[in-house]
Structures are given as C-alpha cells and as structure tokens.
C-alpha cells in the first residue's frame, strides 16, 4: 500500500477540488462585487442628488416651535396662514411644494407630502430639536442642566480581566457558531462525496490503490478545508453586511471591541479547529454507513454536533458548575465548553492546555475509528452495516 502523506494529500486535494470550482467562486465574487457596487453607488448617487437639493415646506402654526421662516439646513420654510391650507395642499399634490407642515402645538404636527422620502427624517430631527429647546426654555433649564439630569448611571463590571471579557465572549460565540456552520457544510459534502462514490461504484478500485484509513484521512482533510472555505464566504458576506450597515447608519460598529487578546484567540481557535476535526471524523464514518441519504434513519445523526453548543448555552450562567467543568474536559463537548468557561470565568492555562491535548488525542482516536467504520461500510451496496458490526469494527486492529 502507498505509505506516507502523499496519497492523503492527493485525496484531500481531489475532494476539495471536486466541490471547489474556480469559475463558480469567481462568479460569486463578481456578484458580491456588483452588489457592493450597486449599494455603494446607489446610496452615493442618492446622497449626491439630495445634498444639492432644497426642500420647500410651507408651515402653518410655526409659532408653536419658533420655527424661523427662510433657509434652515436643507429646507426653505415658508410661513402661511391656516386658511391657505387647501391651496397649499393642492400645491403639494401638484409637486410645486415639497410639503405642508401643520403645527398644532409644540408636540403635535402633521406633514402633508406627495410621497414618503428620506428628507422627511431630517425634518423630523429638526422639529424634535426645536421642540426640546422649546421645552427647556419653558422649564427654564439650560441644555447643560438638562443633560446632567438625563445622564444614566454607568455601571462597569470588573471581573479582573482588564476589559477583555466582552471581546472574548463575542469572539468565542462567533467562532463557535461559525464552526458549527462549517461542520454542517462539511457533512453535506461528506454525504454528496461518499454516496456518489458508492452509487458510481468507484470504491472498489479506490480500495485497491489506497487503504481505507488513507482515503478517509484525505476526505476529512479536504472536506474540512472546504468547510472552512465556506466560512470565508460567510465572512465576506458579513463584511458586505457591515458596509451596508455603515452606509445606512453612517458609522461602523467598533470592531476592535469584538476582538479578544491574542492568548484567548489562540485557545478559542485551537479548540474550535480540533472540534471541527473531531466532528468531521465522526460524520465521515456515519456517511460511509449510509446507503441512501433519503431513506436512512442515520441521516438524523447529523444533528449530533448541535448538542455540545446547546449544553454549553444552558450552562453559561454557571461556568464553574460541575456540569460545565465535566463538559469542558469531555472531548465531544470540550471544544465548545472550555472556550465558554475560559471567557466567562477564566481557566488556568495549564487546564486549557491539558483539555486541548485530550481533545487532540480524541481526534486521533476518532479518526482511526472512522477509518475502521468507513472500511466496514464503504463497500456495502444496497444495505447498511448494523450497529453491532460498527461497534466490532471500532475495536478491530486494522482500518
């Protein structure tokens, strides 16, 4: 049999390239670029059009807010009498006037307009500002006095982690969520890859060239990388979303607040990657035992990787409870539980390292077990190995 990593890498490359199509990737990027361009360009054009535009608004009852006649910001206000209401409303409908503002009091106003438009939000802000000033004047308060009265108490929670906790928590949640997504993506690829090979009768010739362990190792590697690649797409779309948010709101959220210190990032990423490999190995073994994904009851096993995250979320409030401590050492759940404990309560680096090593050892064992189960199931056509057969395969000496 072929030895060394050459065949594993060849299989990994093949599995990756079976589903990674340059043309499709480029088309997706192009589409993304076009969307960004359209969003940017559209908003830019709109801003440019509106910034040079002045909106003419007739005002009835302007005295309620001390609204001055003439230009203010992007508006030209024109005071009018109440009996001119109908005539002015006709002008609004005809488009010769952008709006007719009727102030009944300093807290009650109506704007007649031909249609809804973004300039009306600006008008709303101006009116609210004038109304607040009016209210302060009526109460005999200055702006500074008002702000002092309305300032909330700022409660800062100090856990001794020097401000890193919030960033680490967000980062850990994002990473674990993305890893779960990567597991599901990879599982879809395993299904497609293995059931296609079974249906197309490729397996016997493959097994004459490479060992089942080599084959499954290459699959795990190639499809894991493919799953991670799909996260890159998600990240790119996230970036597009942020840009859109920036365009709409005019400001970006402070991303630096989401980033944890380097040490925490190392632990979180380490556990997440090993967890991904752990579950991908299990899913590869399951996929090899499924003859027909449409009818096999084993398809539901794909939901298994959700379990650790659900359990971890239930234990987040008590990160040092015996339940959470156990889960942070138990390999099927440690990839999610240990990072959660780390960011919620802080964990000794030695414990982090030991749990990580335990998870790595579990990955190694699961990968070998996957090879044995894979060897049992991959040449079965029209039937699936029983649970007993799979359990016996787990303890067989050779994969």
């Amino acid at each position: 049999m072929n030895r060394g990593n050459g065949p594993v890498l060849s299989v990994a490359r093949w599995e990756f390239m079976r589903y990674f199509k340059w043309r499709q990737e480029l088309i997706a990027l192009l589409v993304m670029g076009v969307i960004i361009g359209l969003v940017y360009g559209g908003v830019w054009l709109m801003d440019r059009y509106q910034s040079g535009q002045q909106f003419k608004v007739a005002v009835i009852g302007g005295e309620h807010l001390a609204l001055p006649a003439g230009e203010l910001d992007r508006f030209y206000f024109q005071n009018a009498e109440a009996d001119a209401r109908d005539t002015l409303a006709e002008s609004v409908a005809a488009g010769t006037l952008d709006g007719l503002l009727i102030l009944h009091s300093n807290s009650n106003a109506v704007l007649l307009a031909a249609r809804e438009a973004r300039w009306q939000e600006s008008l709303d802000q101006i009116l609210n500002q004038l109304a607040r000033q009016q209210a302060l004047m009526d109460a005999g308060l200055s702006v500074a006095e008002y702000e002092a009265l309305s300032r909330p108490l700022a409660l800062r929670i100090d856990t001794g982690q020097a401000g890193e906790a919030v960033g680490s928590r967000i980062f850990a949640l994002v990473v674990l969520g993305l890893m779960l997504l990567a597991v599901f993506n990879s599982f879809a690829y395993y299904f497609a890859s293995i059931t296609t090979e079974k249906q197309q009768r490729v397996c016997e010739q493959m097994l004459a060239m490479i060992r089942p362990q080599t084959w499954v190792d290459g699959k795990i590697l190639g499809l894991t990388v493919l799953g991670l690649k799909s996260l890159l797409n998600v990240a790119l779309w996230g970036l597009v979303g942020l840009l859109a948010y920036r365009i709409v709101s005019g400001s970006l959220p402070d991303l630096s607040a989401w980033l944890p210190p380097l040490g925490s990032a190392f632990w979180i990423l380490g556990f997440a990657l090993l967890g991904l490999l752990f579950w991908n190995s299990i899913l590869a073994a399951i996929a090899a035992t499924i003859d027909d994904p449409n009818s096999s009851s084993r398809s539901s096993l794909m939901l298994l990787p959700i379990l650790p995250l659900v359990l971890v979320f239930t234990g987040l409030d008590m990160p040092d409870s015996p339940f959470m401590v156990f889960m942070s050492w138990f390999p099927p759940t440690s990839w999610a539980a240990m990072p959660a404990r780390h960011v919620m309560a802080g964990v000794d680096p030695l414990a982090l390292a030991a749990s990580l090593v335990l998870l790595a050892a579990a990955v190694w064992w699961v990968r070998r077990a996957a090879g044995r189960i894979f060897a049992t199931g991959i040449l079965m056509y029209g039937k699936e190995p029983g649970w007993g057969q799979m359990l016996r395969a787990l303890w067989r000496r050779e994969g």
Binding site: M1, N2, G6, P7, S10, V11, W14, R18, T196, E197, Q200, R201, V202, E204, Q205, M206, L207, A208, M209, I210, A375, T376, I378, L379, M380, Y381, G382
Partner: protein
C-alpha cells in the same frame, strides 16, 4: 517466465450460509496471462478480492512475491485492478480522473498527465480528455477505466470481467492490448466467463465451479486431461449404413441427418486409421474437424453436477 509470482494455498471464504471459495489452490508465474474462468457465482470475484486484500481468506494462504518481499496479498503500486463492480467519477473530467488515479498509484502529476494523454490518444479519446466522464458512452468509459488500471504500468494486473460492456471490435482491441502488456512483462490475471475470448489469450487457465477448482492447466493440457478429443463431422455422398460398425478411437457418434455423422474422438485416436474405416462406409463428400473448446471442456468437467448459479449473493461483498 518460470518464477511463481503468486501462490494460492487452500484458501476458503464463507459468506453467511454460502461457501464462496472452497480450498482453492493455484500458482501464477511472472509474465503470464492466467485466466480464472467459471460461470457467474463460481467464486471468481470472491477469489480476486482476497488476492488484492479487500477481503481476507477465512483459512488458507496467499503469497505474493512483491519486489520488496513476500506479501499476503497483491497491493500497492505493483497492482493494477479493474474491478467487476466498476465505475468512475461521472461528474469529473476524464483527464482529471486519470491523473488522480495515477497520483494515488505513485506517479508524479506530470507523469500521470503525460501517460494519460498518450493512452487517451491511442484509444481514440484524445479529443474528449476534458469532457466529463458521464458524457462518454459506456464502451468509452470502459476504455478510460482500463487506462486507469494500467496507467502506472503495474507489475500485476487483475482484470475482473474485462470484456463485459465491450462491442466485438473493442473486444478484439482489448485482446491485442492485453497481449501487448504481457509482451512488456506484465503478469495478468483475467477473471471472465467469456470462454471463447479467454482461450485465445490465456497461457494458463483455472476452471472454477462452486468455489472449487474444476480443472487447471494450459488449454492443451485441459484438452488432454478432459479426455475430449476432436469432434469430426463427416458428410457422405450417400446414406451410410444405419448400424455403424465399431470404429477405433471413436467415443461417441451421432447422426445429424441422413448423410451426416458427428463423431467424438478420443484424445489418442489415430486419424489415418479412422479415415480408412470411414471410407469403408461410403464415399466421403466433406469433412470438418473441431477441437474441443473451453466451453466443451468446462461442461464436461462440471459433468452432471452442473455449473452453480446460485451464489451470486456470495459475490456481494461484506468487508
């Protein structure tokens, strides 16, 4: 061509209630074409799977003399395997699949691409190298599968039912190709049930029935050992006597019509003496002799027991 490269000693394989292979023995010499023959369900594919290490014998021993030393199966780059249950990645380009298989068999990417291109050109598929396999006809896919088997120039090629799916023209091309591989020193194990094709190709033959050896040897030795001689068809100008006299060297005779007889000769019969005796029965108008085919030999060897056709399930492999 004298060294034994593969030795099979009393191997046995049982699937559930069926004994697929039962104490089978044979040897294959380096550089020869060895044919494993038998009807469907005779145990050929089960034997092949044990030879290449996909399954293991329940008992008995397989010894393959690899370049690196003795092995319990033919594995690694020395093996080229065309399985009976075959197929390739239908949704991938022809050349990519061949390069991938070449890489798995130890070739560099450049070598695999170069050799695959040469073979595709040679088998009239050069212009279809970038097409997806699923776009090719079944016969052309079979050619691609054969290329994938021998691309890396294996030392030992195992071809399980290589003729199935090929039209007569491509069957002939395939026969030439296998002869060519033998001339280059490759050892070839053919497992097939098309006996007429195999007898034109094989150096040594093992006839299997119900998982066991029915007969083994060269075609000539099989003919001799079977005791079947030449079949002689004689056409007389006039009707020969209804009661034939005892003819020396004739095992059996059958009247085909009023003027024609079919005689089964013993393998040691004296043809000249027989012709003299036949001329005594009347003027001979035409003679046609036929040596026993593998098909005849097989049916004779199996005798009243008959070829087994109830073991197809046993060929469904469980690892």
């Amino acid at each position: 061509m004298t060294e034994s490269i593969l030795s099979v000693e009393a191997i046995r394989k049982q699937y559930a209630t069926v004994t697929a292979v039962d104490r089978l023995n044979f040897q294959i010499r380096e550089g020869e074409i060895f044919a494993l023959l038998g009807p469907n369900g005779a145990g050929k594919t089960s034997t092949v799977r044990m030879l290449i290490g996909i399954t293991r014998p329940d008992s008995g021993r397989i010894r393959y003399q690899a370049r690196a030393g003795e092995q319990a199966a033919i594995t690694g780059p020395e093996l080229g395997y065309l399985p009976e249950e075959r197929g390739l990645y239908q949704d991938q380009p022809v050349l990519d699949v061949l390069v991938y298989f070449g890489r798995l068999q130890g070739l560099s990417r450049r070598d695999a691409r170069g050799r695959a291109t040469q073979w595709l050109e040679r088998l009239d598929l050069g212009e279809r190298a970038t097409e997806k396999l699923g776009a090719l006809s079944k016969g052309n896919q079979q050619k691609v599968q054969l290329i994938s088997t021998i691309l890396h120039r294996p030392r030992f090629a195992v071809l399980d039912e290589p003729f199935s799916g090929l039209d007569p023209v491509n069957q002939e091309r395939f026969l030439d190709l296998v002869r060519e591989l033998r001339a280059e020193g490759m050892t070839v194990l053919l497992s097939a049930h098309q006996m007429a094709l195999v007898e034109r190709l094989a150096d040594n033959i093992l006839l299997m029935n119900q998982g066991q050896e029915a007969m083994t040897g060269t075609l000539e030795s099989l003919r001799h050992d079977s005791g079947l001689g030449t079949a002689l068809e004689v056409q007389f100008r006039d009707q020969p006597p209804r009661e034939l006299p005892s003819l020396s060297g004739v095992q059996d005779s059958r009247r085909l019509d009023e003027r024609r007889l079919r005689l089964s000769l013993a393998s040691d019969s004296d043809m000249n003496e027989l012709l003299g005796a036949l001329q005594g029965l009347g003027a001979i108008e035409a003679l046609h002799s036929e040596r026993p085919s593998l098909h005849d030999i097989y049916l004779h060897a199996v005798g009243e027991k008959g070829p087994n056709s109830e073991k197809n399930d046993a060929e469904e492999m469980t690892a």
